[in-house]
Symmetry: C2
Subunit: 298 residues, 2 copies
């Protein structure tokens, strides 16, 4: 039986993809190779978790679904930017992503650099301009939230710290691991919930609740990803399983073991479940999200 | 004797650099190597033309100088993003910029990718959040103007088209040249004038005047740059003179000859001078700017 969150995400997916299709420049527009590569990277699969979180949080506080889908599509662009740049030959140097050649493999490295730049820029521009019917101060707020999540205290800073940790094993690896993943993965997932809240015009206390809940979601997501990487199979994951582990990267299983990682997962799960009780609605759906994140390898 | 525009730009420079110093994260903030590299790229010299244009256009229509300096600093970040990414090994592959090692040479390629990403993002974030005293709708307007100038119909698209023209000589080289440079150089220079106007709350007709004038400024800047590249000396320019010419890149001198380029320069100069007559103030300073752009090799 499909769980409630999976069904919710599945139902939204075509609407997210529809919004992305409308918001991205057509592949025929000049420079065509660039726009083709932008669409290749965005439509290479993926569960659209960030857009789903925008809708989930937005509807919890009363924001219209259409607005959340558009903002969610913009977050997906920002997410795809990081996917494209993080795997460049000079960074993680991956040939495959979601079972398909990465942009620099399918096109070329210069195009991949420009595709990432274009998606970062268009993601933020979309949040500034769309949804057009949304009050300007809410659009501005959403744009700032996402820019903060992308920046050197967010995804970009986390990626840099991750590269540095590979070169030189950090003095305090546990703290470094938490800090890197909070920025690399957690920041944009948290921003997704808060953008939904911003579209609903939530007050400060509600935004703080979404922020704390977002950090839990980010940790559950990352720990689950790390466990999947150790236990998964290449065919299922579409990337070389065990790659992170072999390279002695900082991961939850490499520092805490698989069982230790599952213990942390259970602790964060409990914290998330407590926070969810404070939400005004959608509590069952949020609980289903948390269970989904805790059982991704099953 | 120093011309009026040069003096104006020189007087502003330390204020622009002061604004950049306040807006950029300290080099000591983690990840330190990234922030160090961000500052290395931004403080590697340069005449801060874009910030000066924000101040010039802003003051012409009554915007406060302090606001224009902050917005100008944000545009300089966006400009530096393109300088850092455009010279990466997979793109133009330059070792020197303004006489100093490029970021990927001084640090490494992964750092250079992330520095460009960080500056693009922080440039836009700064325009969203600053100046804090500026009305939110004007900040949003300025942010959108710059994002449009950066995007795939602006700088990023122009860079892609430039790379494509190198691989395959375009069927209509004159049209391709104009179109590439309008996007690569003209778009952000035009946005600089329009951001100044946005801070002053100009009406549509005044914005259109700044747009047309910006296109002239962009052409004068690019044609002047191309002529400088052919006639200049490495020691003065701080990059390998004649590099663009040798590589059979699309440039004004390579298509129109140096004399032909000077003729185009004179035509655009006349157009700009006519437009300047329609400005409500600062006409002498704008004329001095145009003369400066037409005489950069002297």
């Amino acid at each position: 039986m499909t769980d409630e969150f999976t069904q919710f995400a599945r139902d939204l997916r075509e609407h997210v993809d529809g919004a992305l299709d409308r918001l991205l420049p057509p592949a025929s527009a000049a420079p065509a190779r660039l726009h083709e590569a932008v669409r290749y990277s965005v439509f290479a699969g993926g569960k659209r978790v960030r857009p789903v979180l925008v809708v989930l949080a937005g509807e919890t506080f009363g924001a219209p679904r259409d607005a959340c889908l558009i903002g969610g599509a913009a977050l997906e662009m920002a997410h795809t930017f990081s996917l494209v740049h993080d795997v460049l030959p000079s960074l993680d140097n991956d040939d495959l992503r979601r079972g398909q050649p990465t942009v620099h493999r399918q096109f070329d490295e210069a195009t991949a650099v420009l595709v990432g730049d274009a998606l970062l820029n268009l993601g933020l521009q979309t949040l500034m301009e769309e949804p057009a019917a949304m009050a300007a101060d809410r659009r501005l707020r959403a744009s700032v939230l996402v820019a903060e999540a992308i920046g050197t205290h967010g995804m970009i800073g986390g990626q840099m710290a991750d590269l540095e940790a590979e070169r030189e094993w950090p003095a305090a690896p546990e703290a470094a691991l938490d800090s890197i993943h909070e920025r690399k993965t957690g920041a944009l997932l948290t921003a997704a919930l808060r953008v939904g809240g911003a579209y609903a015009g939530v007050r400060r206390a509600e935004d703080a609740l979404l922020l704390t809940l977002g950090r839990c979601v980010g940790m559950l997501f990352q720990i689950g990803d790390d466990i999947l990487d150790v236990e998964g199979e290449s065919a299922i994951l579409g990337k070389t399983a065990g790659k992170d582990h072999d390279a002695r990267k900082l991961t939850y299983p490499s520092l805490h073991g698989v069982d230790g990682s599952r213990t942390i997962l259970a602790q964060v799960r409990d914290e998330a479940m407590t926070l969810i009780e404070e939400l005004p609605s959608s509590r069952r759906l949020f609980r289903s999200l948390v269970d989904y994140l805790c059982n991704r390898d099953r």
